[in-house]
């Protein structure tokens, strides 16, 4: 009887396995599953990072689980797949408390047109800068993401729309992307904060204004070269509302433009990169009349980084110990309209020097020293100065330690 029950149990298990409509694969399983693609499969991955930050001048320190992100992808068939990344920031979200966030970083359906081109529809991350698209902690050396690609290019910047990606077979290594997506919300722009707070990130976005973005990405020899641009409307209002605020409405009304170019070089353990980005808001004057947020008409900046893998010529070649230095410089009020107030505090530079250790490609341990310099804040912009506020420091130093993972 026991044997019969055991056989029945085995047959049931086998039947369930055979009849499963989806196969969950780990990364390693997917390699071993054979090349002839399964019709249906689900892939799970993720990444995350935690950071310790010691403010040397203020003599205090903090530690935070910056983010943990779960990736789930599902292949419906060889032509249609689904990708999503769900992020929890700061480890914990509690009602009524500041900090913490649950959000979707990406959620789109990918339609393969052919082997060289595909379309992504949904919430996607446009190819602007390097960190926006490739933001895994194992892909950058500093504990925090580059400041320029946070404050000027508002990574991780995702919006709803349609994007096409592909490569150009006639030129090996040349790739393109172009997208149509919802625009920004200029009502939330604010001096010194860039365009970051104007992102909708998939939540109740206005579709009255639109944006187009495109990038060319070229791998040639040891170089990776990219140029990208963005142009979109930022007044997602009805013509009546926009008229009352004296703003231009329509798909590309009250526009924002962004241009970016970056180059990377890798050879024999040596690594160097540079990035330039600029943003223009030609109707900043009208925005300041409408919302009084001291919006600039232009912002721009650059950074350059160099590093070397100290284990490159040792027997530990499968690990990496990267020593690096990065300098960032940007001005969040590079040009201002006549009704804005200039603030030197928004002219910022950052110098980083540190080490990043990757015992294997999916795990990173980081340590860096950060030296931050800004101009003096304009007292005209401090409306109610606090009598107990500590003196503003134009030069500050930090020691940062961090761990990161991706799988």
């Amino acid at each position: 009887m026991k044997k019969i029950l055991y056989k029945l149990f085995l047959i049931t298990c086998i039947s369930i396995t055979i009849n499963s409509s989806a196969q969950v694969l780990t990364k390693e399983d997917s390699l071993n599953a054979g090349l002839v693609a399964k019709d249906v499969s689900t892939l799970i991955g993720g990444y995350g990072e935690a950071a310790y930050r010691n403010d040397i001048d203020r003599k205090n320190a903090s530690v935070n689980l910056t983010r943990n992100v779960i990736f789930i992808g599902h292949k419906f068939n060889n032509r249609i797949s689904f990708f999503s990344e769900t992020e929890i920031e700061d480890a914990k979200i509690e009602g009524g408390e500041a900090g913490g966030e649950i959000s979707l970083e990406q959620a789109f359906i990918k339609f393969n047109i052919n082997r060289n081109n595909y379309i992504a529809a949904g919430l996607f991350i446009p190819r602007i800068g390097t960190i926006n698209e490739n933001h895994l902690p194992t892909t950058f050396n500093t504990v925090a993401r580059p400041r320029l690609e946070t404050k000027l290019i508002p990574s991780t910047w995702r919006e709803l729309g349609l994007s096409i990606y592909g490569n150009i077979p006639a030129i090996s290594g040349l790739n393109y992307s172009a997208a149509l997506m919802n625009g920004l919300n200029s009502a939330n722009f604010e001096g010194g904060k860039g365009i970051r707070s104007g992102r909708f990130e998939g939540k109740d976005a206005s579709a009255s204004n639109l944006a187009v973005t495109g990038a060319l990405l070229y791998y040639v020899g040891n170089f990776r070269i990219q140029v990208s641009g963005y142009y979109g409307g930022s007044a997602g209002l009805s013509p009546r509302e926009a008229d009352s605020l004296r703003l231009n409405s329509g798909a590309f009304g009250t526009p924002v433009a962004l241009e970016e170019a970056n180059i990377q070089f890798r050879k024999s353990g040596f690594y160097a990169s540079a990035l330039f980005a600029a943003i223009q808001i030609p109707d900043a004057n009208a925005l300041n009349i409408a919302y009084a947020k001291n919006v600039p008409s232009a912002m721009m900046g650059y950074y350059a980084e160099a590093g070397y893998n100290l284990l490159e010529k040792t027997k530990y070649k499968n690990k990496k110990l990267i020593s690096f230095v990065r300098y960032e410089n940007f001005d969040l009020n590079a040009a201002i309209p006549s009704n804005a107030i200039e603030n030197d505090q928004y002219k910022q530079s950052y110098l980083f020097a540190g080490l990043a250790f990757l015992p294997l490609p999916g795990v990173i341990v980081k340590a860096d020293f950060e030296y931050q310099t800004t101009g003096e804040p304009n007292p005209a912009l401090v409306i109610n100065p606090s009598p107990v506020a500590p003196k503003y420091l134009t030069n500050r130093s930090f020691v940062n330690l961090g761990i990161g993972y991706s799988f």
Partner: protein, 140 residues
Amino acid sequence: MNRRKFIEQTCLACMAATAGVSILGMSACSTTQVLKTTSTNGNVVIDKASFLSEKEAKLIRVVELEHDILVLKEGDSFSAIYLQCTHQNNPVNYTGSGIVCNAHGSQFGLNGEVKTGPASVPLKKIPISHQNNQLSLTIK
């Protein structure tokens, strides 16, 4: 800055950047030949004679597979790599000097080894054998 000047400057900047990349592209322009085929009993057979140079790369497009196979010839030896990223299964591209994934930036060497993450596992190598004038790739 008035609107006309702004649009002119933005367009000029974009045109200059595109022209720069185009010039670089033309100066290093190269194409990898694509051979389209099907598999029989899990094997793909290609003609050795289709490789004309001592050092050459070809993309093999098998109908049953989602991604291409890169076959590299160097002297008398051949190797084959499946062009699917081991990070999140996106397609990877052969650039001439390496293999890259545009989705998340992973870079691989011509043996499929990981040069830069986030991928942590090498690209899948495909067993390849040669008999007489034919190469046989085992894909199943």
